[in-house]
């Protein structure tokens, strides 16, 4: 599974994308965030305030309870400021 990071999340983690292999008990977006947070200080800082994190599963917005299922691509980013 590919993980993508954008904007402040990308800066804090220090990566724009990486391959990840979360264990089977990581089922939802929220659980994946918790699992990623334990990968290092940058991850912990990036995900410190879950209220400011948005996620997409296979390029669609996903709520914290959404399953990651067999997703090929999961992305994390702050609230959007386009337009």
């Amino acid at each position: 599974m590919k993980a993508l990071y954008f904007a402040r999340v990308r800066e804090r983690i220090g990566l724009s994308e990486e391959e990840i292999a979360p264990p089977g008990e990581v089922v939802t977006v929220r659980q994946l965030i918790e699992w990623l947070s334990r990968r290092g200080d940058g991850y912990a800082a990036a995900f410190a305030n879950p209220a400011t994190i948005r996620a997409a599963v296979d390029k669609r917005h996903a709520a914290p309870d959404a399953p990651i299922g067999a997703a090929r691509e999961v992305a994390f980013f702050p609230p959007m400021t386009g337009g």
Partner: protein, 155 residues
């Protein structure tokens, strides 16, 4: 009832030409009554801003804007719809985003254009970082809660 037009959605680094896009939407047609365009421009914040750096999620940006465009076409009887969103470095006075709507009646064209902008603001995966005048590094622009409430009114 004419069939729903295919929305034209583009995500690009290059600038766009509003007149050209309007001409594309209306050429050869004599059934359009109302054409609304919205252009979002980069403001200089009273001279404090040197440029914006717009980051985006390639692939999802196009897909998400297309989903919002299809929703607009389902809600209002539009005759044409164009959305262009730029990414990369954008300087004050430059164009960031274009929404164009064509309809028989003005109320539909206005409502659809406002809806599209409200939804783009909260759903399209773009993030703006400031570069301050003098080259000082700026911060990421915060999402405004008023944008969320603007999007809420369409539910």
């Amino acid at each position: 009832m004419t069939p729903q037009p295919a929305p034209s959605v583009r995500v690009q680094a290059d600038d766009f030409d509003v007149a050209h896009e309007q001409a594309l939407l209306t050429q050869g047609r004599r059934d359009i009554g109302a054409l609304v365009s919205f252009v979002g421009l980069c403001r200089d914040e009273d001279g404090a801003l040197e440029a914006l750096e717009l980051e985006h999620y390639p692939g999802m940006a196009e897909a998400e804007i297309s989903r919002v465009a299809v929703e607009a076409l389902e809600r209002w009887p539009l005759q044409g719809l164009t959305v262009i969103h730029r990414f990369g470095q954008i300087r004050p006075g430059e164009q960031i985003v274009l929404v164009l709507t064509a309809a028989r009646h003005r109320a539909d064209a206005f409502a659809a254009a406002e809806f599209l902008m409200d939804y783009l603001k909260t759903r399209a995966p773009f993030w703006k970082k400031e570069r301050r005048a003098g080259g000082a590094p700026g911060d990421w622009i915060s999402a405004k809660s008023e944008d969320d409430s603007a999007a809420e009114r369409w539910r």
